[in-house]
């Protein structure tokens, strides 16, 4: 590759990233202090909120990992231009692994099967806890999941790092060789993680599509996040020169696709269980459609699917970053609402939003963003020596 006119220093993240990083840390610390108060005075409310926050932010991390591998498989400028954002997102994985530890202490508060008194009264739970849902299995499997995700994230980031260096040979083929099996491994681990961490909240209930709802949800969270970040970055160099309307359009189309997939999976689950009306299955929905939770469900149908769907049908809307950004942030919020609707009714029959349901996810988010922006500014926003970076850097190409 003959010498490009730009160098790595031109491609570094703008100074605003530093500012946001500091503010995120402040928010994280303040809300973490409040969360600790919550843990001390209301542990029963703290842990559900903690699980919510953990799953929400883990979704962004792993969604970034999934999109990263997806774009390595398909290629395309839409992926290259956000690759460094995605990579910075995947490098928050150590933080998420660390944040998993408190869940281990909250297990008896969260999971029926972790409470010996209740297990003793239920034969199915006895069998299940002996075979699968027990502390060592829960911990052991989590270690395996995190180890696999970490290896994938580590390799993809290390090879990408090599692409900042002109002296190192072209390594693009490696990304693709890893990403195919990587996506399989990610989907496999996340499916079981969804069963372990969320579905087992109601250990008598099963739904085979449930893990898939988590998978598309994670990709959707990450897409929303990436669009929000690219909006901020596109106000400054170098992103203002790299990001073209065509890329934004592709991101909009991906969001539309995943909004539709989410609705498709969620509706299929609802219709099959509603039509079946078996006591052990429908009880999950009965809980979530009564006592005020039904309004949350309706809210999801309208604002996680219908309204975004109508907006996203418009070509102009998808190409216009400032408006798309609002929808992206909104969808990130709706992802949390969806998780809230899946997790929280386990603990309360009546709809209630505790202060901790807001404080704890914000605290985790503060730390997550601090970590993310630290990662983001550590590397140029485009892997300069990727063979396709040139197409993005050529201003005349369009």
């Amino acid at each position: 590759m003959s010498g490009p006119r730009v160098n790595n220093a031109d491609l570094l993240a703008p100074p605003v990233v530093q500012t946001i990083q500091q503010r995120s840390l402040v928010v994280g610390v303040v809300f973490a202090v409040m969360s600790i108060i919550g843990l001390l005075i209301r542990p029963g409310e703290f842990f559900p909120a903690y699980l919510l926050g953990f799953m929400a932010w883990l979704g962004v991390t792993l969604g970034c990992l999934a999109i990263l591998m997806l774009q390595h498989m398909t290629g395309g400028a839409w992926g290259l231009v956000i690759r460094r954002i995605l990579e910075a997102g995947t490098r928050t994985l150590p933080l998420m692994a660390l944040l998993f530890i408190p869940l281990l202490f909250g297990m008896p508060k969260l999971y029926v099967w972790a409470r010996a008194s209740e297990v003793a009264r239920d034969q199915h739970l006895q069998e299940l806890t002996r075979a699968y849902l027990n502390f060592s299995g829960f911990l052991g499997r989590a270690i395996v999941y995190f180890a696999i995700w970490a290896v994938l994230a580590y390799l993809l980031n290390r090879w990408s790092d090599a692409q900042d260096n002109a002296a190192l040979p072209d390594n693009t083929h490696r990304f693709r060789a890893l990403s195919g099996p990587g996506l399989v491994l990610y989907a496999f681990c996340m499916s079981f993680a969804a069963i372990d961490w969320a579905m087992s909240l109601s250990p008598h209930w099963i739904s085979t599509i449930y893990p898939l709802i988590f998978l598309v949800g994670q990709v959707l969270s990450a897409l929303g996040f990436v669009v929000a970040i690219e909006t901020i970055l596109s106000r400054y160099k170098p992103m203002s020169e790299l990001l073209k309307p065509d890329h934004v359009h592709d991101h909009g189309k991906l969001i539309l696709t995943f909004v539709m997939l989410w609705a498709y999976f969620s509706f299929s689950q609802w219709l099959i269980i509603w039509a079946g009306n078996l006591p052990e299955e429908i009880s999950w929905f009965v809980r979530r459609l009564n006592g005020g939770w039904g309004f949350v469900g309706l809210f999801l149908a309208a604002f996680h699917f219908a309204v975004p769907f109508v907006f996203l049908l418009s070509r102009q809307f998808k190409r216009n970053l400032p408006t798309l950004m609002w929808l992206a942030v909104w969808l990130m919020f709706m992802r949390v609402v969806d998780l809230f609707w899946m997790i929280e009714p386990t603990f309360h029959e009546q709809l209630r939003v505790t202060v901790w349901d807001i404080v704890v996810p914000v605290a985790i988010g503060g730390f997550w963003l601090t970590f993310f922006f630290r990662n983001l500014k550590g590397r140029p926003l485009l892997p300069l020596y990727d063979p396709h970076s040139r197409e993005i850097l050529e201003p005349a190409h369009e």
Binding site: M73, T74, G75, G76, A77, W78, G79, H124, E127, L128, Y132, G180, V184, A187, F188, S191, I195, I206, S207, T208, I209, Y210, P211, L212, D246, D250, K253, M260, Y264, F265, S268, Q269, L271, I272, I273, A275, G276, L278, E280, H388, E391
Partner: protein, 457 residues
């Protein structure tokens, strides 16, 4: 996503070999229909397919006389071959819509050379599929009772039943596929009208082309309509197999009532559909010398789609088995045991081998561009997906909740004659299609040529 980056994903193989002009592309494809003499091989192939179609008509005729008792279906297995074949055929149809609609929306221009015959494949497969549930009705001549219309019986369909949804889904699918295919054909029919030297052919193609003259205004509306139709067909194709999966999942039968069914059925449909595309495309490109248009890249991409959808199908098997065990439900557990060790266990294991085991060789890059290997693997997948439907239908039904209603299902010769006969009918229609209509979209191939680009002055 992006045209330019298309080349990145598939290495060096081009969509169309260099050196063609608008005229040579037109002449080469239309010559297959217009000037090429009917070959002995074509006559032989069509003859065999035609005989099989006659066999099917004989079996159906006998069914009309004697009723469904000639089939192997009985309580507890009331669905049998009819539904197995229905699901198999309709799944095969889905790749056609996927190639023509979804890849159009994704601006994957490599589809232009295979979409036409993939769409034809969809139509013929849906036609074969549609036969089975109608024949299975018992009194097939009263099939129109399925539609809601005012009648002297003062009766209306029951819209909570997935079987009624199926009527709407399949008939909508057939209508939209037919329109999509026909709309795509109009400009090429005009080409045939103008190129044909035979008066009768000119009149027939002329009537079908409806006076198409390639006006810029017409093209503008045409492209919009085509794109919108693609946008409509994409969710439609997903919905059709979703509804087929609801036929099972809404029922309270272990092995059927599970929420993963919709995406898992859709993936399986695309899996077998792409296998059928390859089974047809590999010989066609060989016999008609179309290697320049259906290139290695088409084979590679189809192989990748098969690998991906095959993994989703494997995911479906896995999660279903795991949940069966995890739920501790005695019926689900028994079903799993019955699949693995029951009287049909051989077919279950064969299904795993054909659908999950063997296709994993597609991870090997060299195999993905070898026509012979791909042809064999595709045949294997077609067999595997047929077995999957057999296992879902028969193994789930044959041992009912009570031991007193356990039984075995054995297909009769009439089952086999009808099934093999539909394969004959499908192939006969394909043979006719190749002779009388352009198998590759001529006008879309023209747009792939570098000359098609407008150079700024």
């Amino acid at each position: 996503m992006d045209d330019r980056t298309d080349d990145v994903t598939v290495g060096s193989a081009p969509v169309i070999e260099p050196g063609y002009t608008f005229a040579t592309v037109t002449d080469k494809i239309s010559a297959i229909v217009l000037t090429r003499p009917t070959s002995v091989a074509w006559l032989f192939g069509f003859g065999v397919a035609f005989l099989l179609t006659m066999m099917m008509l004989y079996a159906i005729g006998y069914l009309f006389v004697r009723g469904v008792g000639i089939w192997g279906v009985n309580i507890p297995v009331g669905w049998g071959f009819a539904i197995v074949n229905f699901v198999w055929w309709i799944g095969i149809g889905h790749a056609g819509t996927l190639i023509s609609a979804i890849l159009l929306l994704l601006r994957q221009s490599w589809r232009n050379s295979i979409n036409r015959f993939a769409e034809a494949m969809t139509l013929f497969a849906v036609a074969c599929a549609g036969l089975f549930p109608v024949l299975h009705l018992g009194r097939p001549w009263l099939g129109y009772w399925l539609f809601p219309y005012p009648n002297t019986m003062k009766y209306w369909p029951q819209f909570r039943s997935p079987l009624v949804w199926d009527v709407f889904a399949v008939s909508t699918y057939f209508t939209i596929s037919l329109m999509f295919w026909f709309i795509g054909l109009i400009p090429d029919l005009a080409t045939l009208r103008d190129r044909s030297g035979n008066r009768a052919a000119q009149i027939i193609y002329g009537i079908l082309a409806m006076g198409w003259r390639g006006s810029a205004r017409h093209w503008a509306r045409y492209e919009t309509a085509y794109l919108l139709l693609a946008g409509l067909a994409t969710p439609l194709v997903l919905s059709v197999h979703t509804v087929v999966s609801f036929d099972f999942a809404i029922s309270m039968v272990p092995g059927w009532h599970t929420t993963i069914f919709p995406p898992y059925f859709v993936a399986g449909a695309i899996y077998s559909g792409f296998a059928m595309v390859l089974v047809l495309a590999i010989p066609i490109r060989k016999f008609y010398g179309l290697e320049d248009f259906i290139t290695e890249r088409h084979l590679q991409n189809s192989a990748k789609v098969m690998l991906a959808t095959g993994l989703i199908v494997a995911y479906g098997y896995g999660i279903e088995a795991f949940m069966g065990w995890y739920s501790g439900n005695r019926y689900d557990t028994f079903l799993l045991w019955n699949r693995l060790h029951g009287p049909y266990h051989f077919w279950y294991w064969m299904l795993l081998v054909c659908n999950i085991g063997i296709p994993q060789v597609l991870w090997i890059r060299n195999l993905r561009s070898s026509p012979v290997w791909l042809f064999l693997i595709s045949l294997d997948i077609l067999v595997g997906m047929w077995l999957e439907r057999f296992v879902i239908v028969v193994v789930s039904l044959h041992r009912d909740f009570l031991n007193s209603s356990w039984g075995m299902y054995y297909p009769t010769r009439w089952d086999w004659m009808t099934y093999i006969g539909t394969i004959g009918m499908f192939l006969a229609l394909m043979f006719l299609f190749l002779r009388i209509l352009p198998a590759i979209s001529i006008f879309e191939m023209r747009t792939l040529l570098p000359q098609a680009e407008v150079k700024p002055e």
